[in-house]
Amino acid sequence: MTTETMEAPAVTAPTATPPHPLREFWGYFSANRGAVAGLAVIVAVVLLAVFADVLAPHSPYITDTTIALKPPFWQEGGSIAYPLGTDPIGRDILSRLIYGARLSLLIGIIVVTVSIVFGTILGLIAGYVRGMTEIAIMRLMDIVLTLPSLLLAIVIVAILGPGLINSMMAVALVILPHYVRLARAAVITETSKDYVMAARVSGAGALRLMFKEVLPNCTAPLIVQASLGISTAILDAAALGFLGLGAQPPSPEWGTMLADAREFVLRAWWVVTFPGLAILITVLAFNLLGDGLRDALDPKLKR
């Protein structure tokens, strides 16, 4: 999963002062065309989500059976008023997709934030305290990793009951181990370094050591994992929605839209094609971004 930075980024002749870290980062990042494309798509999706109220031509909820299953505008019977057609109960698909972007982004961001916060705390504790605490935390994470992610998410939803919030909690738990492992590994490497020792000698407490000294130095892998985590979260939440366990109708969540439209697949290709395409494009964009971030932030690849 490495995109080799073959075209050496345009680094100017050595100057007296090193470039600002952000500038250096952008140099590496922008050399990767895929990553830039991913970022552009994400920006576009964010704008769609933010300005959904202005951009969406229709309400995502109002039904009108007189215009049910209208094809997209370029097909016979379609009209430009409903550019991507309408669903079986006459809702505009484009408008639902635009509002769905809101949900998917929210799902991705909230799930990953929850996972990162809890994962980092658990990982920091495991890596810093060691001993039985570490064993207990890591074994627990092993269990989560052993069980197939969707199966575990399904079981959690079965306990809590279907719904958007519960499915988000399930997905957050499923991706938690990645952050715990990352944070723990980073802490173990960092705590053996001199600057941590120096801080400790000068009387810094455990909390200060963990959050002020060690944490800022392990952010790079966490940022990469966060970007990849958002794509997993969107995909898994959509899968739960598709299975009828995630967001419930009439919510315009993309996976739920697919589940609603499934039985019409034989009659109306557009009701299943567009929501899935939206998921694919968004997930792909976050994966491209994650790959690009990894290449730009991973010091091992910098030569």
Binding site: I143, T146, P148, L151, I154, A239, V265, G276, I279
Partner: protein, 336 residues
């Protein structure tokens, strides 16, 4: 080597105990009274309630309950489905071959396409082919496979009429299950056309389930090959005047395969996740569909038993991969 196996085995025990705990508490974490939950909307009278409570051992202290549960699990008793009244283990055994058949085909599909694509991409690094393979594999990796399945059905079953929409075999045929693998059973059954029908039904589900592993294997093969191709012994082999094919196929590929084997093993969990979705879309009568149906019927014993069995299987495969890894690569065996 024995020491290596034992260490690995001992690492699994806590994880397995953990999974039994998850499965055990599953039924008890569901809000409300488990008996009433299981009885569903029909309700239940007090006498039957008491009787069931005894039957499930719910009148005992929690620790005793867990002890009883473990005792039963170790004897292979995973309880009965509350819908079919069939033993969970028997149901699992009947459906498992269908999932294995699909999973094996999907992995073969992924290997047959993924390894050559990865090798070629590495050898022709930065060519159009390389960029194409990498782009496609990232797309495959990002694929919502539940949608992918619907699109393939739309294209190949509805538009072109090439493949059947769902199921394992045409309803015309009845195949007595011997091995449970329909491809084998239908070949043995001498029913005209049964094998072809089974094969036709497998094509789309195989592609759908194989897409993510294919993407992962192609990417992994490429990066492993790139790493190996930069090694000194490859330069030596080239300097000796060996043909390009010999250098790549014999010298590089063998070493590049080590990480790929691990990745294949890790795909087993991914396959189960994919099987849940693929089986739902294609009405494939396997474990994934069974578990999803169990949720909607609130069939908790099935969910509990299925979770435990799937967990145990994934763990065993991971162990097997670990051991194979130790066999192929002696460096691993000796450092631990």
């Amino acid at each position: 080597m024995i020491r290596f196996i034992l260490t690995r085995l001992s690492l699994l025990i806590p994880t397995f105990i953990g999974i039994t705990l998850v499965a055990f508490f599953l039924i008890r974490l569901v809000p409300g009274d488990p008996i009433e939950t299981m009885a569903g909307e029909r309700g239940i009278d007090a006498a039957r309630h008491e009787q069931l409570k005894k039957e499930f051992g719910l009148d005992q202290p929690l620790l005793v309950q867990y002890g009883i549960y473990i005792g039963r699990v170790l004897q292979g008793d995973l309880g009965k489905s509350i819908v079919t009244r069939e033993s969970v283990l028997t149901e699992f055994q009947n459906l498992f071959p269908a999932t294995v058949e699909l999973g094996v085909c999907a992995i073969l599909f992924a290997l047959v396409l993924g390894i050559p694509a990865g090798i070629l991409a590495a050898v022709r690094r930065n060519s159009i082919f390389d960029h194409g393979v990498m782009g496609l594999s990232l797309t495959g990796y990002s694929m919502p496979i539940f949608w992918w399945g619907l699109i393939l059905i739309l294209l190949f079953s509805v538009q072109l009429g090439w493949t059947p929409v769902s199921g394992r075999i045409d309803v015309l045929y009845y195949i007595e299950p011997v091995t449970g693998f329909l491809l084998i059973d239908s070949l043995m059954s001498e029913e005209e056309g049964a094998f072809l029908s089974a094969l036709e039904h497998l094509i789309l589900p195989t592609i759908v389930l194989g897409t993510v592993p294919l993407a992962v294997i192609a990417r992994m093969t490429r990066s492993a090959m790139l790493e190996v191709l930069g090694e000194d012994y490859i330069r030596t082999a080239k300097a000796k005047g060996l043909s390009r094919f010999r250098v790549i196929a014999l010298h590089a590929l063998r070493n590049a395969m080590i990480p790929v084997v691990t990745v294949i093993g890790l795909q087993v969990g991914v396959l189960f996740t994919g099987a849940i979705l693929t089986e739902t879309i294609f009405s494939w009568p396997g474990i994934g569909k069974w578990l999803i149906e169990a949720i909607f019927r609130r069939d908790y014993p099935v969910l509990q038993g299925g979770l435990l069995l799937v967990g145990a299987i994934v763990m065993s495969v991971n162990l097997l991969v670990d051991l194979t890894y130790g066999l192929i690569n002696p460096r691993i065996r000796h450092t631990r």
